[in-house]
């Protein structure tokens, strides 16, 4: 186990190194000149050059990258070109919110998606099944901005059950998590349905019923743990997909997460922030996948870590 972890962590580090190199190179090739943006409209060429030197942007690519890496090891992600704050500070201040949202969204996805998939599988071929599957497609196809605003309008403005955006209590979390969750639930319900249909055909499900277990115990105690395995692998993948959705949802709900930071940075080509957010999200993705792999043997004892 420890050896496995050590090996996977080394691999993860290599992957992160690869991501950082590629990202850095791509950003290096990008036509927008950060120095010009910093220097402003009225700067003289002299000022521009002096700023370029201060930031080390006159150095060759390898030197710049090497400097970035060495700084990175001491936890220094550089300073935002636009906001002028430490990138690490910006990320640290926003990361908890995003992680929280991610947890909330994953919970929503799992609860909604899995139960939809489960019901559809059990009622396979019926109208309920078809309705649920159409539902899952609506979830996947509906633009998140619209879903978010609709939820906000109905549940926060009209009904007043939840606050209109913001961050702080669990009540703030419900609607954004739900908005993200509806999309993911579409995917999970389809996966769950097909894996559940497969499991329900298995002999051990029949055995469980032969013991006289209640339907609930059969479904949740016996079928679910078997059907859930592909779903766990999916959670690892999910984290990557989140970065897309989180931008919209965070801005609709005023959620102070990393998605908004990333989006603003992309719009303004704020390279240090883009680099930082990329690395952090790559970390999350790599760790998410690692976690999925580590959890798998606990769900299915036949799986060995190798």
């Amino acid at each position: 186990m420890i050896a496995y972890l050590a090996r996977r962590l080394i691999q993860a580090a290599l992957i992160l190194l690869g991501v950082s190199l590629i990202t850095f190179a791509l950003l290096y090739l990008l036509p927008a000149d950060p120095v010009r943006q910093i220097a402003g409209r009225s700067a003289t060429p002299q000022t521009v050059e002096s700023i370029r030197q201060q930031l080390g942007l006159d150095q060759p690519f390898i030197v710049q990258y090497w400097r970035y890496l060495t700084n990175l090891l001491s936890g220094d992600l550089g300073r935002s070109y636009i906001q002028r704050s430490e990138v690490s500070e910006l990320i640290v201040s926003r990361l908890p919110a995003s992680l929280l949202l991610m947890v909330g969204a994953i919970l929503c996805e799992l609860v909604i998606g899995l139960s939809m998939g489960l019901i559809a599988a059990v009622k396979r071929g019926t109208a309920t099944d078809q309705a649920l599957m159409v539902g899952s497609f609506i979830g996947v196809s509906a633009p998140q901005f619209v879903v978010g605003l609709l939820l906000l309008y109905v549940f926060a403005v009209k009904l007043g059950w939840f606050p209109i955006g913001g961050y702080g209590t669990w009540r703030h979390m419900v609607l954004p998590s739900l908005t993200l969750g509806i999309l993911g639930a579409g995917w999970y319900s389809r996966m769950m349905r097909s894996s559940m249909i497969d499991v329900l055909r298995q002999d051990y499900v029949r055995t469980a019923r032969a013991k006289g277990l209640a339907q609930r115990a059969v479904l949740f105690g016996h079928a679910l743990p078997n059907a859930i395995l592909p779903v766990v692998a999916m959670i690892g993948i999910d984290i990557g997909l989140f970065m897309g959705g989180i931008v919209v949802v965070e801005s609709v709900f005023g959620w102070p997460g990393i998605g908004q930071l990333a989006w603003q940075a992309i719009q303004r080509v704020d390279i240090p922030i883009i680099m930082g957010v990329t690395l952090v999200s790559a970390c999350a993705i790599v760790l998410g996948n690692l976690l999925a792999d580590i959890v798998a043997p606990f769900i299915d004892p036949r799986i060995k870590l190798r």
Partner: protein, 522 residues
Amino acid sequence: QETLDQKAKQGGAITITYKDDVATLDPAIGYDWQNWSMIKSLFDGLMDYEPGTTKLRPELAESYEISPDGKTFTFKLRKGVKFHNGREMTADDVKYSLDRVTNPKTQSPGAGFFASINGYEDVAGGKSESLSGVSVVDPSTVKIELSRPDATFLHVMAINFSHVVPKEEVEKYGADFGKHPVGTGAYKMAEWTLGQRLVFERNADYWNKGLPYIDKITFEIGQEPIVALLRLQNGEVDVPGDGIPPAKFQEVMADPEQKARVVEGGQLQTGYVTMNTTMAPFDNVKVRQAVNMAINKDRIVKLINNRAVPANQPLPPSMPGYDKAFTGYAFDVEKAKALLGEAGHPEGFETELFVMNTDPNPRIAQAIQQDLAAIGIKASIQSLAQANVIAAGGEKDGAPMIWSGGMAWIADFPDPSNFYGPILGCGGAVQGGWNWSWYCNKELDEKAAAADSIVDPAKAEERAKLWSDIYAKIMADAPWAPVFNEQRFTMKSPRMGGDDKLYVDPVHIPINYDYVYVNDVQ
């Protein structure tokens, strides 16, 4: 001293929302419309404008004198002005602040504004740490010597970059001063939770007694404008900082109760299309003129729900030097076609129109595209993120046409010269510069310099006339096609009080925090 609003009440707290993060609050660095007026409330400069107007008045300076040659400015400082840390502000602070903003290490985007001060070249070139032209006469007197007469210099002393900062705090926080701003302003920073909220607190020691009225201003960050409006309607927000979202504009204006709370005003802004004068076929003035005639400005204004007025010259109407009599190029498709024919393009040509990707800019670009198509110009649209458009504009053959919306040009200060230098003068027509039409007319550069050397306030009329002429000449060469001047619409909650002009203050966006108040205290 200030004449206070009799109806104003002291106290209360308001909430303002923004979508984007607030960048640094360091006055030497902050340079977007969002932190611009926040910095103005935290810091003060030697000069300022009367609230809601573009009229200059002294602020930290009690009075000033301009030498007859217009090259020496002597400011007498107000006494008893204290920084938020309790220390009294002196002339040394003023010099320090100017030295700092021009020092390349500060990486200020505003350093170029101070280019007329003696010794600027040395500081900018790293040869000196101190501007030789700025001298402390006594603790309350500062003398500034210029290398050339500069009529805009008093405006420069009013822009944020010249605001006064305390040396000890700057050194204490270093590069993080922008996160821990300490100034002499009406408000001081109470809390800054990154990505979530900023809280300003009334500066009880403010030198301008009786101001500000409001005790606490909370800026909530990261809020979609539509949601901000919903919250305003719900009574949770007092002013949506990003304004009324286009999607909701008509709904709001259709409701008399809400409409009553919307304040409309002019803005020092012009939306225009640049044409790259170094790129064929836009190197032909007839083509540029044809484009000017082809654009149906009325329709574009209608597209954005009449939130603007059609423009025919670079300067906005509220700017000194705006020529009311100037008619520009009237919308005339036939004439435009004829001009194209004369220029050797009877069948038109293909080109590209760059535009920033946020609503309504791509829509406006499409309207322009259709208008151009009517005279045979097939412009394909490149709708990109702001930074990419700016980058394309800064390359000599990067962008044949750019629609300026969303990126530029809100004036830094209300002076006609501000619309010339970097965006129409030769100095801006360099790689990475902001003169996207690459228009460089040496003769006009000289005229502009001449106009700016008319320092005498009494000759302001004359100077404005000179500028009008310059812009008329520019329009003859037509590097731009001015399209409209945006109007500002600020919405406020019912409890907000104060003169309407405070809500459309030309230099404070969205509102002038120092003078507004709330009605519902005691």
